[in-house]
């Protein structure tokens, strides 16, 4: 009995030593996973996930603090990508976080009073203009985050959905007549 005890203790001590050495040798700095997650996120910086921007959300996911279905601009595809990256099951969007069609903000320049509140709100500096000057939005830089809409005191910002044009037209998924005829 004593021998058995001694043997187990010796075993535990030996393995403990090895593991202790390994934990020093293989220490990991930083969190490279967060960056991978950040690369998947759409970078709208809209804060709909409850975090101030995409990067913080990515860090929260990496730490396991946030769910993967909180990013409506990423769409269901975004969740699928996250699920694949993290090796977890797909999770549909919650009730109050449904994706909307893509849009860009548009400032009605007749109404704009040049208060610069929207410029301060824009997370990607896509609004140009100076105090008391009319502001305008650089459409190609706008992420459609809608953060500029609520601060506007005169409600001159509206979200225009992106229309399909010849330049961004896509081929539709081929419909097999066979399945229609069932």
């Amino acid at each position: 009995m004593i021998t058995a005890l001694w043997i187990m203790v010796a075993l535990a001590a030996l393995l403990g030593l090895i593991l202790g050495y390994a934990s020093i040798r293989f220490r990991v700095e930083g969190n490279p996973l967060a960056e991978k997650i950040d690369a998947v996120l759409p970078q709208t910086q809209c804060g709909q996930c409850g975090y101030p921007g995409c990067k913080p959300y990515a860090e929260a996911i990496a730490k396991g603090e946030a769910d993967i279905n909180l990013c409506p601009p990423g769409g269901e595809e975004g969740i699928h990508k996250l699920a694949e990256l993290l090796g977890v099951e797909f999770k549909p969007f919650g009730e109050n976080a449904q994706p909307k069609p893509k849009a860009v903000a548009f400032i009605d320049e007749e109404t704009c009073i040049g208060c610069t509140l929207c410029i301060q709100a824009c997370p990607v500096d896509a609004i140009v203009g100076a105090a008391k000057q009319m502001h305008t939005i650089i459409a190609s830089e706008c992420t459609g985050c809608e953060l500029c809409v609520p601060p506007c005191p005169v409600d001159c910002i509206s979200m225009l959905p992106l229309e399909e044009k010849l330049t961004n037209w896509k081929w539709r998924y081929p419909v097999t007549p066979l399945k229609l005829s069932k």
């Binding site: 995409c54 320049e109 190609s140 010849l166 330049t167 539709r172 081929p174």
Partner: protein, 574 residues
């Protein structure tokens, strides 16, 4: 046909190469080669799209109601990769607006509608002798004449006829015309071989190419004979007409280059990097017309065939509505739809009122009897008939499997973008799967995703820069405050202890502040410079007109402001 000893020897020595796969669909070519090229009477209205080429849309240069002459430029090329558009005949501009164009999407694009006045009155034009004109001028002429690749790719010829970094050994002139039904190049070669060869000579000159190889599929003996005769007549040197085996898609640029030279040009690689360049025969012809006669590209040869009484080739003014063209050829009543291009790679036209463009080499009137609706598709049984015929040596069945299940990453891994969409796979598929449609779907989805990804990266960058800027501003503010306090304290102390000297600490602070402002201005300028091209480059015509309207409004406001003579500081423009 008599061959000179020299060219005979060259033909003997030339070994042709083979590309993988290929198919032999029924050609249906003879029905439209019975009669020569006819000229279509002047239509009542021309709808000329301003975007008939690869690259940026041409910018309209005329106003509604303006009278234009034949050959007058109505669209100015915009940016490096673009081409000019001209009035195909004299008349009045009736509209400049968005109209449905000959594109699979059926989407509208900016078009100039021209009502011909019937006089067909030319604008003053003159050619040059290419031998004593600089190459830059020649290329400018091509760009201004709106010469683009007429084989269907419509890539601006001025860009293609320039190779700075690579020595071009072989210029390939493509007269293969492998698609069924199409005969426009065949007829052009039969009737106007000399101008084609002269155009090829100009292109050779521009590219400093050693030799010119003209590849024609061996099912066009008349065209081969005519071209060889012209070659001999005009005594072109280092130029050879080569009959290549009839095998679809042997007329694809990559395939023809391989057959003639043995060089494989991979997807995403310019053929010039391999020392080869390829032009269509019709392009060579219009190059000659543009250089030697100063005639811009106003018309092209179009094969009208299929379900019509007299299938024939016509010289058609660009912008001619397709319905007038087919009506003239004797459209039969059961024609259901129209295909632009050949049956293998052509486009199902959204309607018959769209205008003929530079890419329109053929219009097929399609009846249900000639082109039955697609059969229901069965699942893929992996029989690899598609693999056997794929000229790009892809695995079409795998690409289909991935495209079908939206597995785009895998599709790209299996070289989806090397697919040339020739349709050989779908042609042989026993399950009748619209394979090419799946590839097109997957490609456009991937392109959109790539675009989104780039936009996301840009947004991340801008967001991070903003965070950084806010942080820095905060710091600067704190610093400034601290400095001010320190200065105040110092000043106080100084005032107490000694007489104030003329050394003003505030001046120092001012200086640094000025420096900082300058730096910020420079940064802003830089940023503006970086941002502005993106801002203005990709604008649609409406957006552009919108911008112009806004500019005008702004100018008006400024004027009102300055007229009022208020003590407001002058409005800044950013």
């Amino acid at each position: 046909m008599a061959l000179s000893g020299d060219s005979f020897k060259a033909i003997e020595m030339r070994t042709l190469h083979h590309f993988h796969g290929g198919i032999h669909p029924p050609t249906h070519k003879s029905q439209s080669t019975g009669t020569g090229i006819a000229t279509l009477p002047l239509p009542e209205k021309l709808v000329v799209p301003l975007h008939q080429h690869v690259g940026n849309c041409a910018v309209p240069e005329v106003r509604v109601g303006e009278h234009v002459l034949k050959g007058q430029r109505i669209g100015r090329p915009e940016g490096r990769q673009s081409s000019a558009v001209h009035a195909p005949t004299s008349g009045t501009v009736a509209a400049i607006d968005m109209q449905t164009v000959a594109h699979a999407s059926g989407m509208p694009d900016l078009c100039v509608t021209l009502i011909p006045d019937g006089k067909d009155e030319w604008i003053a034009h003159a050619g040059v002798d290419y031998r004593n004109t600089s190459h830059t001028d020649l290329r400018h002429m091509l760009r201004d004449a709106g010469v683009v690749g007429l084989g269907g790719a419509v890539f601006p010829s001025d860009i293609k006829s320039y190779s700075r970094h690579h020595k071009i050994t072989t210029l390939v002139i493509n007269g293969a015309e492998c698609e069924p039904y199409i005969t426009c190049d065949d007829m052009l070669m039969r009737e106007r071989p000399r101008d084609i060869l002269r155009g090829a000579e100009v292109l050779r000159e521009l590219l400093y190419a050693d030799e010119v190889l003209i590849g024609i599929e061996d099912n066009k003996p008349e065209a081969i004979a005519a071209m060889r005769k012209a070659l001999e007549q005009d005594g072109h040197q280092h130029m050879e007409v080569i009959a290549v085996p009839t095998l679809y898609p042997g007329g694809g640029a990559k395939q023809l280059i391989l057959v003639l030279t043995g060089v494989e040009v991979a997807a995403g690689v310019r053929s010039t990097e391999k020392g080869v360049q390829c032009f269509n025969v019709a392009t060579a012809w219009s190059v000659w017309r543009a250089i030697a006669h100063g005639e811009p590209l106003l018309s092209r040869i179009v094969t009208v065939t299929g379900n019509v009484e007299h299938a024939q080739n016509f010289e058609v003014l660009l912008g001619t509505p397709v319905q007038e063209l087919v009506a003239y050829a004797g459209n039969k009543p059961d024609t259901g739809r129209y295909i632009m291009g050949g049956p293998m790679m052509g486009v199902d036209l959204p309607n018959s009122s769209v205008g003929v463009t530079k890419a329109t080499n053929c219009i097929i009137a399609a009846s249900p009897a000639l082109f039955p609706p697609p059969q229901p598709a069965l699942p893929c049984i992996r029989c690899t008939r598609c693999t056997d015929v794929c000229p790009a040596e892809l695995q079409p069945q795998d690409l289909y499997w991935f495209a079908k299940s939206n597995n785009f990453g895998k599709a790209q891994e299996f070289s989806l973008f090397d697919c040339i969409e020739c349709g050989a796979c779908a042609y042989v598929c026993p399950s009748h799967i619209p394979l090419v449609h799946y590839y097109r779907y997957a490609k456009s989805e991937i392109l959109v995703r790539d675009h989104d990804k780039r936009a996301a990266d840009l947004a991340r960058e801008r967001h991070e820069f903003r965070q950084f800027r806010i942080e820095r501003e905060k710091q600067e503010k704190a610093e400034r405050l601290a400095q001010k306090e320190r200065a105040a304290a110092e000043a106080k102390a100084k005032a107490v202890t000694e007489l104030p000297t003329q050394v003003d600490p505030a001046a120092d602070a001012d200086d640094t502040q000025q420096l900082r402002i300058d730096a910020a201005l420079a940064r802003a300028k830089e940023q503006a410079a970086a941002a502005s091209p993106r801002n203005t480059e990709l604008l649609t015509p409406e957006q552009r007109s919108e911008v112009e309207a806004i500019e005008a409004r702004r100018a008006k406001i400024h004027k009102i402001a300055s007229d009022a003579g208020a003590d407001d500081e002058p409005p800044k423009r950013n």
